[in-house]
Amino acid sequence: MASTAHEAAAVRRPQTAQSTTQLMQALLRTVLRDPRGYFKLSQPFKSSPTAPFNDRFKMSVTLGSGIADWTLLLNARNPEAPPDFILDELSDAFIKYEELQTLRTWSLDQPTSLLDLLMEMRALFRHNRARRAIAFSNEKLGFELESLLGLEDESEIRLLDKEKLNVECVVPIRRSAGQASGGGAQQSEQAGEARGADAGKGREIIGHLVMILDQELTQVRTSLQYPETVSEELRAVCPGWEPGNTHVFDFVPMVQSRVLQKMQAMDGRKEALKCLSELLTPLHVDSALFLRSSFLIELDAVFEVVVHVRLTPSFPEEQPSLVLQSVSYLVDRQPIHDVILEYPYSPRWGARQIASQILAILPSKIREFRAKVQSTVGEATAP
């Protein structure tokens, strides 16, 4: 059953120079442009045929692993009044209007007002839904859920069913602080608890840990969910839950660390190839996973070789290998190859030093390769 009434009174403010329509549009734009992408607006329509503009919108709200459908009710004839909502049954159970702080401080002049309100509603939903799951959990499971909220208060926690009382937890995994991306939540003086929870957490979410916890924690299922844009090679394997040995307070940080390590490994490879590309012009760079790069080199004006630098997902712990390929010396029309796996190297070096080391050893390695190639092909076929 939908609920339509709300009790908070509108705060009347003086008209500004901007038209009402522009102010309304600013509210909606702020919601649509929010980088977290929790809210999508569609199907605009008017509250009445004579309304001056569309003041009703269907909304899709991302809540954990699900999507809720709300209807946003602005008021074209009383634009300064705070909005009303038609909520789905589940949302209605967890969002109480009297608890919404941002409704009391609603201002049409503040472009973030609507977004602040929506974020607070979302946070309230999440909070109350988690509390309900904890209320229905036994002591063992309740302890784990409280631990989770202490670790990551933006986790989504919900009761999956009323019979077995299994609980689903969806935990966002973010890039570490040192890798914070440019976008993120902006501080707002009027932010309620919702925005406060997100403020400072504007770090990019790179995946989610999903746990299905049973009451006795003996049949816990865990998985990692990634956006489609993340390739298979960058996805970490999710560890399993060991009944009796695993607890949320160390399991979640361990998984987060594993996911980040996999991602950071790519950043490290990219940096190494970037440094190498500053020393040598590459023929090619694997710009998807930064696992390979190739260079055409002429040594002492007499010998050309292609050097293929290969990194593995374990770089820098595993040192890069170098594959040398002859250019003008062929056997049965095929180039000759050699692989260099060992040379002075330390995984503790920075990217710049690793690149410099590779450049330093190349002349001698190419000379040795040339000798090998010439003995393979024979002087008779040398150009």
Binding site: S277, L279, L280, T281, P282, L283, H284, V285, D286, S287, A288, L291, R292, S294, F295, L296, I297, E298, L299, D300, A301, E304, V306, H308, V323, Q325, V327, S328, L330, R333, Q334, P335, L359, L362, P363, S364, I366, R367, P383
Partner: protein, 271 residues
């Protein structure tokens, strides 16, 4: 540019079967075979998504093998080519018609993937996004290619941002070219195929049939055309002297044989 993700590449090799000396071994064809092997095997190291088609040049272009991911089979075909006769003309319209038709074929899917989803008669959108590259391997010193009356395919592809035509022209040294040699005109023709404003999208090489020089040029045709810098920037020159630092993008030195091009447009070399 080279750090951007570049998408798949579809390469059509055009191999000239012309034999300047009928009845004698075709050394230019042998070098072209080595070039194709070098390009494909080098690309194999680069994990690039590339599919290859094979055409031969007689008096026009003849398609021998449509796009394939099976490089072993393609190279077998390449290595078995024979060129025993001389040709007096080359119709470039057929070259570009072949390229335009290839552009409209769906991408080849590996056996593990589902067949292309594009309904019959419709152009595969993935094929439209791939880069189509022609690699034109030519050896006729006395025959300047011509379009005849139909340049429509050429005009269509010239304005297509997802098309590039590379060329590699192999010719005798100037001292051995006869009075009727049109090598310069051939080279000018090939350069002018690149209608981009700065003539720097396509790579165009010329040299004698010296394998070292030709293969050094050929290996520069391996990188994805969307990822490569202007021609002439790819060779790194190293010396054994520890005091030296690498010289990046050093131009390949020109020799008396008249080969080895660096950047093209201004002051085209005289062959």
């Amino acid at each position: 540019l080279r750090w951007t993700q570049v998408g798949p590449e579809r390469i059509v090799f055009f191999i000239d079967l012309h034999n300047e000396r009928p009845g004698q071994p075709n050394s230019e064809l042998e070098v072209f075979k080595q070039c194709v092997n070098t390009i494909i095997l080098t690309k194999g190291h680069m994990l690039s998504q590339a599919e290859y088609a094979l055409c031969v040049l007689l008096e026009g272009a003849v398609l021998l093998s449509d796009f394939t991911l099976d490089t072993n089979e393609l190279l077998k075909q390449v290595n078995s080519l024979e060129g025993t006769e001389a040709f007096q003309s080359l119709d470039m319209s057929s070259v570009f018609s072949t390229l335009l038709e290839r552009k409209q074929t769906p991408l080849v899917k590996p056996p593990s993937q589902a067949p292309a989803a594009a309904p019959q008669g419709q152009i595969d959108p993935a094929a439209q996004k791939a880069l189509l590259r022609g690699v034109f391997l030519y050896s006729r010193t006395n025959v300047v290619p011509s379009f005849g009356t139909d340049k429509s395919a050429f005009e269509a592809l010239s304005t297509d941002a997802d098309f590039v035509m590379d060329a590699l022209f192999v010719h005798p040294p100037p001292s051995k070219q006869g009075a009727e040699s049109k090598a310069q005109a051939v080279f000018d023709f090939l350069i002018d195929l690149d209608r981009s404003s700065s003539h720097d999208r396509a790579y165009c090489f010329e040299s004698t049939a010296n394998p070292r020089r030709v293969l050094r040029n050929a290996v520069q045709l391996a990188p994805h055309a969307r990822q490569r810098p202007p021609q002439g920037d790819l060779l790194n020159v190293l010396t054994s002297s520890p005091a030296s630092s690498p010289q990046m993008g050093a131009a390949v030195p020109g020799a008396g044989e008249g080969g080895g091009m660096g950047a093209i447009p201004v002051g085209r070399p005289i062959l």
